[in-house]
Symmetry: C2
Subunit: 279 residues, 2 copies
């Protein structure tokens, strides 16, 4: 199987993804009063679902990015010294990364390098939140409900279904008795590691090298493509992840782009891959 849904390290720095993180994605809804109330009349005496939701979300992660859901790290396979040494060899321009991300400084678990944090460590992000009055100006509403979307990137050997159960249990444990809670599993998938010693992978390696004039490096990808694990488990086949995006393509964001020279180099790489694989 070949999937083209990953990016390379830079426009002249080809890379091949051999590991994908898993994903556990939930929607959390907190319900309070049966209808919206006026905060001047009921505020201070009716638990506001927005206050309750924010208090609960704040108990999922500490300020350095460590996830506080009990048991969350129990099944995380520790990074070996060998793998950490290998990840440290990946070319990385910190200043260019900060500019691509549009931030003045990075953030996250201080005991791991930036490369490790974005590819080999699990994460927790609030991807969306809503509730109450969100138009310009002031309205003193105490809303009936509030909701958030929360996703977690998972690493070997975390299982999405188990992690979601841990999260649900933690949320139930910390939910105040004055509101009610629902947690919906929206879109979860397992991570995967693909073999690097197959003939197909060797063909891909040589195709990138000959098309970009530089040997590709093997990297772990922070994102998730759950079907790769499904292909392994159900069909018993490996996947070659031959992507040609760039880190600053603004994936899933406004003004998403694709670097045109990569389009032509991608065509060349795929032609060579088929030729080398045929041999």
């Amino acid at each position: 199987m070949v999937i083209s849904d990953t990016h390379i390290l830079g426009k002249d720095t080809p890379s091949i993804v051999y590991a994908l993180r898993g994903l556990a994605y939930v929607e959390i809804e907190v319900t309070g009063p049966s209808q919206d109330l006026h905060s001047g009349i009921y505020g201070g005496a009716v638990h506001n679902p927005l206050n309750a939701l924010c208090a609960m979300l704040a108990q999922l992660q500490d300020e350095s990015g460590h996830i506080l859901v009990p048991g969350f790290y129990a099944k995380v396979r520790p990074l070996s010294d060998e793998e950490r040494a290998e990840l440290a060899k990946i070319p990385f321009d910190r200043q260019a990364w900060l500019e691509e991300a549009g931030v003045a400084s990075d953030w996250g678990e201080p005991e791991y390098t930036l490369t490790e944090r974005v590819s080999a460590r699990p994460t927790l992000d609030i991807n969306g939140i809503w509730g109450g009055y969100t138009q310009p100006g002031a309205k003193t509403v105490l809303p009936s409900r509030a909701a958030a979307k929360v996703s977690m990137r998972l690493v070997p050997d975390q299982k999405p279904a188990e992690v979601i159960e841990l999260l649900k249990q933690h949320l139930l444990d910390i939910a105040p008795p004055t509101v009610s809670l629902t947690v919906r599993d929206l879109n979860s998938g397992e991570g995967a590691i693909v073999r690097r010693d197959s003939d197909a992978m060797q063909a891909a390696f040589r195709a990138y090298a000959d098309s970009f004039g530089r040997e590709p490096v093997f990297v772990r990808e922070g994102g998730s493509i759950p079907v790769v694990a499904t292909f392994q488990q159900v069909l018993g086949i490996e996947t070659i992840l031959m992507g040609f995006g760039l880190p600053d393509d603004r994936l899933h964001a406004p003004n998403e782009k694709f670097h045109l020279p990569n389009f032509y180099r991608g065509i060349e790489t795929v032609v060579r891959f088929l030729e080398y694989l045929g041999r």
Copy 2:
């Protein structure tokens, strides 16, 4: 001055508001990366403004409703034993209140009664929050910004401008260095206490009594009508708050209503008020 913007205790239980809470209303915006990012690529290494905002909002109030902004309670005039005894005499049907609010139980500062909490104690409510992806389904975005509207009801002798400065300082103190913060003052106003011994107030008292067949009780209102303080300070005049709403009118909420018999009793009350005041 006469303002008709308050409610009475029940359809057959008239009341006159003599104290209003002040209001401090702000919009808080947390900005992280310069554009939305993919959480699979940057999650764990770029501080997510939604995670940061929720963590900050959770540090404004404890689970029992006590406000954690340093200095917030410094100027709160303590409730006297006499005033607490007076507030305790206001007819209050707890079960009816819970049904009106649409909640199974009340919430808030355990050392104050429910009547005190909704009228004589300061409060803090998140009135709205937004950021990231909020449509159906899953999208793994790490948004560029997140925002919330937060309002505080104030009691004598809290000043809105001072309270907003305390809140801003607290937010700056707890804001992580990896995001930036703006706090905008949206709509603030002082609370007020109006004289109960004026001729006009006596005329209003008798007008309610004769129209509803029952003497009104004097109550403090949890909401805010900032112009009452402005009339006192600029024009030097008192305001009679002659309202006819009911607590379950769903103010500021969907399906807001007005109880029609109160419309006709309101007309009678106003006619009598003008007559008694003229005498």
